[in-house]
């Protein structure tokens, strides 16, 4: 158990170096808009938003061992909450807060039944998937004009368009435009990343890691693991809801596609491609896959599903660790090879010296 724990830690940097890296990334991210166009801001914002979603999923999967397909359900719920509330209230700050709160509550209720029923991890996965499917169907079935919340008609599979831009909380007259949304999405993604990382360092996070390694042992040590699992499920539900709210702000639009099986699949693919062992993996994976999907779209490959399916199968069968640990492994090997080479050269030089001396 300890061996495996230290193994995962070896991937991460020492704190001082890590904070420097975060500061550098933050500076780079904040600098990008000043020398790129609006289209790049728009493309990068959506990657950051999906990155937040992937983090909420990857943390639970990689660090706690709970594979939740329900993150897209919370994502969609967050988006629809923002849509309905912002249109009803004519004010967006509380709508955004509710887009975080409501999915968290939903996750708590759903999680209570699953986690306190002590169903196994695999059933947890399947039930979260089923909930996602049913929620999407329920939203799709609201195309009749009688499905109204407040003044907002849910419009079924057409989705709700024309959502208001996000207002600055202390100055509702000012709204965020493309570049401001970029900054917001980027800063929030970094905040979520740092937050999860801090959580992992905290006692609470250590218990979560312990649950992943051996839940029964943690139980026997006197921890009520169900409470910890429910807490992290609710937290990740809130994070996914935040991503959903941001998505609604980004496109001024929500639709049932936000929570269909393909979106759920793309989140899983983002995480598995990047690698679930680290927190950086889901972010890298999201970037790579989003870029790949966009490229496939422009390259005229008709069926993105076909390619995504093959990517998923390929990674599960061949690179279950994802590209980040694979790259780290390759880097370590290269380093080792270089060291060997130098040692051999030193040995040769020593032998040569010895020969000339004698």
């Amino acid at each position: 158990m300890f061996a495996r724990l230290s193994e995962t830690q070896s991937v991460s940097l020492p704190p001082a170096l890590w904070w420097t890296a975060v500061a550098l990334a933050l500076a780079a991210g904040l600098a990008i808009p000043s020398f790129t166009g609006l289209d790049v801001h728009l493309d990068l914002s959506i990657i950051f938003i999906f990155g937040i979603l992937a983090l909420s999923m990857g943390f639970m999967w990689g660090q706690v061992g709970m594979l939740s397909f329900g993150q897209t359900a919370f994502f969609g719920l967050g988006g629809y909450t923002y849509a309905v509330c912002s249109l009803n209230f004519g004010e967006t700050t509380s709508a955004m807060l509710l887009a975080i709160l409501l999915p968290a509550i939903f996750a708590t209720v759903l999680g209570y039944f699953m986690i306190y029923g002590r169903i196994s991890n695999i059933y947890f996965t399947v039930i979260t998937m089923v909930v996602t499917i049913v929620l999407e169907k329920a939203i799709r079935a609201t195309s009749d004009e009688s499905f109204v919340i407040g003044d907002v008609w849910l419009r079924g599979q057409n989705g709700i368009a024309g959502l208001p831009d996000l207002q600055v909380p202390w100055d509702p007259a000012t709204t965020l435009f493309v570049t401001e949304v970029y900054y917001l999405a980027f800063v929030l993604m970094m905040a979520v990343y740092v937050g999860y990382r801090m959580l992992l360092r905290h006692r609470f996070g250590r218990v979560l890691l312990g649950i992943r390694e051996n839940e029964r042992r943690i139980n026997l040590l006197g921890y009520d693991t169900r409470r910890y699992k429910l807490a992290i499920f609710a937290i990740s539900g809130a994070v996914a809801g935040l991503a959903g709210g941001l998505y609604a702000v980004w496109g001024n639009f929500v639709a049932p596609e936000m929570m269909n099986l393909n979106s759920a699949a793309s989140v899983v693919i983002n995480v598995i491609v990047g690698g679930k062992a680290t927190l950086l993996g889901p972010l890298i994976g999201t970037g790579v896959v989003q870029w790949l999907t966009a490229w496939l779209g422009t390259a005229g490959v008709g069926q993105v599903n076909l390619v995504l399916g093959l990517v998923l199968i390929g990674f599960v069968m061949l690179f279950p660790q994802g590209i980040l640990p694979m790259a780290a492994g390759l880097g370590r090997e290269a380093l080792e090879a270089a060291r060997q080479l130098f040692r051999r050269r030193d040995l040769a030089a020593a032998a040569l010296r010895k020969e000339t001396n004698s």
Binding site: I119, L312, M317
Partner: protein, 286 residues
Amino acid sequence: MHEIVIHLYQVMFAIGIFVLISLGLAVIFGMMRVINLAQGEFIMLGAYFCLFATQLGLDFWLAVLCAGLGVGLFGILVERLLIRFLYGRIMDTLLATWGLSLFMVGLVTSVFGPQEAGVDAKLGKVTFGAYSIAEYNLVLIAVAGALLALTFAIWRYTRFGLVARSVMQNPTMAAALGVNPRKYYMLTFGFGSALTGVAGAMLAPLVGNQPTMGSFYVAKAFVTVISGGPAPLTGTLYASTLFGATDGLISYRTTQVLGEIGVLLIAIVLLRMLPLGITGHSARRA
């Protein structure tokens, strides 16, 4: 009086549908513990087999057989190429079959296009008081019952069933006794796939067949088999009865979506009370 019979028929029909779509999964997941998320797409494939066989001029019932055979062979292919590398890695199986499901949807869409197509089973209607019932729906109920009985009989009373059960229980021990476990895994997976194919073919005349139709069934199938618990066949029957009755009554009174939500809510509450499923505490397992 007529009202009651019609309700009874609605419930029986809903149960029949649940049995049909869950039976293949009861074999593949319930018995083999292989999570096959492409189950919905196997159903879709069965429907397409049926569609093309009838378009080629085959009789509907022959087309159903073709679908069973075709999807069964396809299942064996999938087992050889994909599943057999993943036995014991249940999460990886789940992800790989999900990839398979996306792949199949993509492939069928790019070959046949996304539009719907219907199949005609060429059966009439029975009038009953003020109501009329499609004959086909009655036949479907009978077929569902017959398939369940057949699977149960094969599993319980034939040599194949006995050996397959022993392999699922303890492959190493079975291998020590001279059985080739790989062969039985392959055949059982093929058998489950064939059942799924027949289910797809039977559903083909009832729904618009399109490449994404699988997602309509995969959730119901998993909910049924999971709630059924460790005795897959009897569990599936009990769970289908419970969910079919719920779904049938709610859908008949309100809408299909509400029926499905009702089923899901009951399943979640059920799992809180009986985490091992309906048959979790009974000793006899089949």
